[in-house]
Amino acid sequence: MKICQFSLSAEPLSPVLLSRALSDTAAGAFVSFEGWVRNHNRGKTVVALEYEVYQALALKEGERIVAEAIAKFGLIGAGACHRYGLLGLGEIAVWVGATAPHRCQAFAGAAYIIDEIKHRLPIWKKEYYATGSTAWVHCSEHSH
């Protein structure tokens, strides 16, 4: 039974717990990715981020993305979790993990999942700037 997990969390993410769920003695490689809240974007000083999510559809689409990665790259297992709500600098906004017999598949699988999450998950990001202003940003507006 392949592990295929996608979740949303209002609480801080725990990479230790998330990666433990993927442990499998058939795996020779485990690749994880963490997206962190960065202090700048497009020349502006960012002090916090807020994610708003359409939960029911995001859960379905997130599971589809993880399942696609498993099928496409022959992964043993994969998982991802996205935070929502208000996040401070340095917090983990998204976690992705992929296991495979060999590293190439695991790297490719993890990259596929985060790329698809950025473009397909119905979740929105509002940046809070040092100036006191805010803005909704989307993935075509900033460098990845």
């Binding site: 559809l57 999450i117 950025k118 397909r120 979740i123 909704w136 993935c139």
Partner: protein, 90 residues
């Protein structure tokens, strides 16, 4: 005019949910609306007039009853419709 076309023109009640930019512009996160719009696209044009949504339909995705659909999907009474402005995961 056929019976089917006549029923298409009667107002039907749909539920809308708004997120992010659209939620702020509509100043609400959901509403129940009686509409004569026949498709999701027509419904969006109706909402654009009312709330001055600046984003064109071409930049939106559409979900009905928690699944992505095309903009030309016919509306049915009781549908839950969500217009999805450009997303930003990660």
């Amino acid at each position: 005019m056929s019976v089917a076309n006549v029923s298409d023109c009667r107002p039907k009640t749909v539920r809308l949910r708004y997120f992010a930019l659209l939620r702020e512009q509509a100043k609400r996160d959901n509403e129940v609306r009686a509409t004569t719009a026949r498709t999701c696209a027509e419904l969006y044009f109706e909402l654009q007039k009312e709330y001055s949504f600046p984003l064109p339909l071409s930049q939106m995705k559409v979900a009905v009853n928690e699944e992505f659909v095309g903009p030309e999907r016919p509306l049915q009474a009781g549908d839950e419709v969500v217009f999805i402005p450009p997303v930003a995961g990660g």
